[in-house]
Symmetry: C2
Subunit: 684 residues, 2 copies
Amino acid sequence: MKSRGYQAWLTEERWKNTARIETVRPLLGVVSASVNPEQAVGAAAIEEMVNGITSFTGIHPDVTVTSGPALMVIGAKEKAESVVQELNMYTLKEEGYVIRSSRGQSSPFVVLFGGSEKGLLYAVFHFLRLLGTEAELENLNIAQTPRNALRMINQWDNMDGSVERGYSGGSIFYRENRVLLESSRIRDYARLLASVGINAIAVNNVNVHHEETRLITDAYLPDVAKLADLFGRYGIRLFLSVNYAAPMELGDLSTADPLDEGVQQWWRDKASEIYRRIPDFGGFLVKADSENRPGPFTYGRDHADGANMLADALAHWGGLVLWRCFVYDCHQDWRDRQMDRARAAYDHFRPLDGRFRDNVILQIKNGPMDFQVREPVSPLFGAMEHTNQMMEFQIAQEYTGQQRDVCFLVSQWKQAMDFDTCLKGPGSTVKRIASGELHSYRYSGVTGVSNIGDDDNWTGHPLAQANLYGFGRLAWDPDLTAEEIASEWSKLTFTSEGRVAAMVTELLLESYSVYESYTAPLGVGWMVQPHYHYAVDVDGYEYSKWGTYHFADCYGIGVDRTISTGTGYTSQYAPVNRERYESLEKCPDELVLFFHHVPYTHVLHSGKTVIQHIYDTHFEGVERVEAWVHRWQELKNEVDSERYEQIAERLGWQENNAKQWRDVINTYFYRKSGISDARGRRIY
Amino acid sequence: MKSRGYQAWLTEERWKNTARIETVRPLLGVVSASVNPEQAVGAAAIEEMVNGITSFTGIHPDVTVTSGPALMVIGAKEKAESVVQELNMYTLKEEGYVIRSSRGQSSPFVVLFGGSEKGLLYAVFHFLRLLGTEAELENLNIAQTPRNALRMINQWDNMDGSVERGYSGGSIFYRENRVLLESSRIRDYARLLASVGINAIAVNNVNVHHEETRLITDAYLPDVAKLADLFGRYGIRLFLSVNYAAPMELGDLSTADPLDEGVQQWWRDKASEIYRRIPDFGGFLVKADSENRPGPFTYGRDHADGANMLADALAHWGGLVLWRCFVYDCHQDWRDRQMDRARAAYDHFRPLDGRFRDNVILQIKNGPMDFQVREPVSPLFGAMEHTNQMMEFQIAQEYTGQQRDVCFLVSQWKQAMDFDTCLKGPGSTVKRIASGELHSYRYSGVTGVSNIGDDDNWTGHPLAQANLYGFGRLAWDPDLTAEEIASEWSKLTFTSEGRVAAMVTELLLESYSVYESYTAPLGVGWMVQPHYHYAVDVDGYEYSKWGTYHFADCYGIGVDRTISTGTGYTSQYAPVNRERYESLEKCPDELVLFFHHVPYTHVLHSGKTVIQHIYDTHFEGVERVEAWVHRWQELKNEVDSERYEQIAERLGWQENNAKQWRDVINTYFYRKSGISDARGRRIY
């Protein structure tokens, strides 16, 4: 029996409203499907529909399957005929779908029509969401197609069973250098991903260590092929992270120079070998010349040389190269205030625009630093008109509470997606770049670093499931609001009855601002314990090689990234944004310390001084978490005890964490500035 | 062939002066020994003498061994007869010895006379030191007896092969839960220890984990017995660290309450079992109720209850309980400035004076905190007239450079040994308490946490060998000066010819003050990276639970431990010291921040302000290390390349470390205080 935590939002709980079950019995008792029998995805779509109906209602529908275009009729097939005929005239995109239902007829029906079996699968999951939230099923007229072509997940799983930056147990994919093919978790994970529209996955850590380098060899390819099948059945294409030095590390060559013919041939052969076993293999994800990983720099080549060589090897098979742009000097001297890690990705890659093959996609983290709670959008995103790009988010809460603290990241991602780069005038939003609308990219989209592990409930904190759900939904449709996503997830995961879902939604929607309020202030970032990245340590990274500083002294704080007096980072933005960030007057409060070094007495747009803002937000942050603790206690009898207790325990942890942040941050800045809290609250 | 690093100070190098070899040939060609054949130590003494003579000179002496009192005559036995007869009239203490030699006679001789075979072994090593430093051998009239009865080493080795706070490789004792009996290293380590007079060793970490708990069971006792034999042959008694919860963890009982009869019986049985296998077993070393280790507190008992129960179990066999006093609250709230970890040992133990059995020895760290570069002497030491005590030093350089930076700790230990507690009026020095002179303790002495591992040269840094050597020599005779010890070690370890030994001696003698100069200032301590304890992190422990704070703000720094306005820690000292530490005017500069919170502008006895002292010492510290680097380069052709390169490399590391400390400390305090360096040097 799966626990409620394990089921996640694909709940298998029977509706409590038995009257409603009787009402829908005529509709849900019959399923007539037509699919291409050669597409395993079609069978998955039918299976999900049947199991979903049975779970919610106890009804075991009669199922008929024929060969034909991807289509499913629930209920009265003959009544649906005219709708089916009309829909057959349309050409849908491969992943698109339409759902239409009858209008109050005595013989109700629902038609699900897919642009392909994948589209049909997405339609089924959409319909199951309607069942799960006990929505009305009449008068449906839904047409959906995903905005982003690539909606991808990156697993940072290692073959020893660990997960880099994993906060929910070990890997579900590997243990002691074995692929856990016997585990039903991998299939269940594929279902979860497909249900929110994910269509690609890289199944190993971007830091490719010794054993993982061998994933592209005979030793592991048969297992990788089985993984690819598992995911393929749910419309998810499999990618591997590769080691740029593989031709050497696997002992075949003495160089990995991308311009070396032997190296090129080695990768071509490797590609053939992989595609012979995995015809729909997605391609390679590459972290090269970054944080001590090997790459083309060793051979005096640049990133375009490096990526294109791999792209050429994959091109024949339709494979892609996802080339990460997280490239910076990780041996920086903190004494040098002109050096600026934030500049690095743009400085490295912007000059290469136009030089990449069209099956290369540059994968760019949402911010210029590294998944901080608050950063501006990376200026590189959209700045290369002739180079495919996709945006990388981190669903794993490395710097955002590590799945001990609640932090609903959809709020953050929405801000990034809606950011107007102004690169082609107003309206040049990130979501229009990711979707390939602004620059007509051949390939683009969004990718997210997974937050799941082998904890029974996948994500450690039950509420962290909302981030995985939200990532998929937002990747599908970036115009969805955080409110819509939070509410949808809460109803599916808990119940649409009672006050739990509403309370959970509220909590989720508050959580990003709450987490920000008690951590590093005003966009300056970091202030976390080195390596661990959870608890507070204001100076933890201040005198280190990592390029992550706040420069607080007894007068003020912040990083001067202006053109006029600082590192010049603001020059990487289009004029409107450049001017906004360059100007202390115009710079938004939440990023003021990211762009400017200001006195503690500087007055923000909010009317508060910087120091008073620090004090106020840190006191408020704790108060808000305390309020959560009490509100959650009110729901004790309305949530299953398993999840009630897990959440209650973690809210307690969060309260402690928030208090430590509050007291350390406030004490640090009080001791440093000598300025008292205007409200005389306790600072140590 | 042993490397020079492996040989350490028991060098096997032939004298270069071949003329001298011919001169001593008549003397060293004959060895006549009498020993008790039942004492393995006697055989070891003879073996060491013979091998030593052969190593230095190539002479293979004729050896005669008879049964009798512990005695050795080198050279002309008949000529020595009158000396032997005279010596036979004396009663030496068991570990004492006399060395007498002829005065310019044509038939030279040397007589070594021991209070026992152990005394004879020490005499042999003394004589070998004379050979090793090519000292004159005529007119010797040496009488030695150790000042401290217990001269002990604590290994913090774990059975998985790791060493807690080990900086020179893995354990020489264990690997993967096996005792490495087949290794000759253990015997060679015993030789090194005996050669400087060590007579006891605890062979496992005071933090006794799961596997080590089983050392006192059938699973490991046969191996432990073999270890005891190995060390016993060199006069070293073997102790084990035990887990206070062993009766429970070994699965026998449901409690470890020291007043429980079943528990008492369990330990009595355990003692019998151990002594049946190891008749000269030393006893138990116990870390209880400290840093999350189990202990009597769990059962509402105190440390006397806890220690006495074990003491009673061992008493019949002559075993000892070494009970560590490193007991404090390791979950302190940094917000509470009245709570003071420095007070803990005294507050816990002082009230228990007189309640401990006379085979219990309280083992007290030299300072009240934890082996910092600079601390006052623990006020508990000597404050319990009716309770045996011994002082614990740390030879391993946990907080003092981790055997990457040179730090000759004899300088520090000398200061502790010479500290006058004034507990019984002037002259109540620590060394007179450790030796049992001041309070007539039945057992007392000094113990040191080992700095060796399975690195070829034992200690990682070749110069760190001097600390192990120095610890033994100082434990034997606390009146030796740091200069004498450093010079002796340098000559033995390098050569007494040329300028190397002089340069090494100079470097060693400077090193403690150099290391202090670029690390935490004026006795405040810490400022290291949490857990690792090497590199600088000023606030690393400032907001933690460990009770280790500096309280720096924009006005000043330091911990107020006075009675009048602070934590009252100074009250734990005898009146003279109490008044000295309590008074800001009288408090020695080097401890001013340990005892007082002062403004950065406070003027020290040196005439400098605190802030200027910080800047000056940190600039000077780096300059002095830079000078070492250059001075060492001058010796390139005078030291074997193995050790030359090792030392050169480590001096480079030390230079980098010192620079990082300098710049971080100076920048931290400049940013915090806003006060510029009076000499306008570069601060960031």
